[in-house]
């Protein structure tokens, strides 16, 4: 699955959780939204070559940030 999509789903879940914590009565109203997210999640597929390359580039950038121990 596209990493950007996972982040977007995570953000949506974060908003839903906050809304539910503030007002548990919203559960019935929000359940259709959650149900709507399931089909998107159900299409787990492998990376495209471009996504693999982007993932590696991002990982190497992170590794470079912590190449040396903290001062």
């Amino acid at each position: 699955m596209n990493p950007a999509l996972i982040v977007q789903i995570a953000q949506a879940i974060d908003i839903l959780i906050k809304a539910l914590v503030k007002d548990p009565k919203l559960v019935p109203a929000l359940s259709p939204i959650v149900a709507g997210m399931i089909p998107a999640l159900s299409q787990s597929a492998g990376e495209t070559p471009e996504q693999t390359e982007a993932r590696r580039t991002a990982a190497e950038a992170v590794f470079a940030k912590y190449a040396l121990p903290p001062a």
Binding site: D14, R55, A58
Partner: protein
């Protein structure tokens, strides 16, 4: 580095840590949902799950290391030693799993169990360590 820029950098790290402490539980929930999802037709579960682990492991490493770097001065030598093992060990473990995945895709490997388990172990160790030392509670509430 000047005092002002140092303070600015620390402030940025703290803000980022606070943001991550709020966002990571949701990211893990999304990952759990993705992990439970059925695969698209024709997809190899080993490939998809491994790619998902590789995708999510890097932000965890990034956030865990950012917290470590921001708090290194107050950590005990023992804790620093464990963080250092993760800091040094994660990149080669990640690359090793990534390479093994390419071999698997090419039909030159039958499984990726050892490499997969090592990346997973390092991620879990980092999560546990940060939480145990008073960092973001990745299982729920923010600190």
């Amino acid at each position: 580095m000047s005092t002002a820029s140092s303070a600015s950098g620390r402030s940025l790290l703290h803000r980022r840590g606070a943001l991550l402490s709020r966002a990571l539980p949701a990211i893990f929930l999304a990952l759990a949902l993705v992990g439970c999802a059925t695969l698209a037709p024709g997809e190899d579960p080993v490939v998809v799950r491994t790619e998902q682990l590789l995708t999510m492991a890097t932000p965890v490493y990034d956030s865990g290391m950012a917290w470590y770097f921001a708090n290194a001065e107050r950590l005990s030598p023992g804790a620093r030693e464990v963080f250092e093992r993760v800091r040094v060990g994660f990149p080669p473990a990640y690359r090793s799993l990534d390479s093994a995945l390419q071999l698997y895709k090419a039909g030159k490997r039958k499984e990726l169990m050892n490499e997969f388990a090592e990346v997973q172990r390092l991620v879990e160790q980092l999560l546990s360590l940060v939480k145990a030392l008073g960092g973001p509670d990745l299982a729920g509430g923010a600190k």
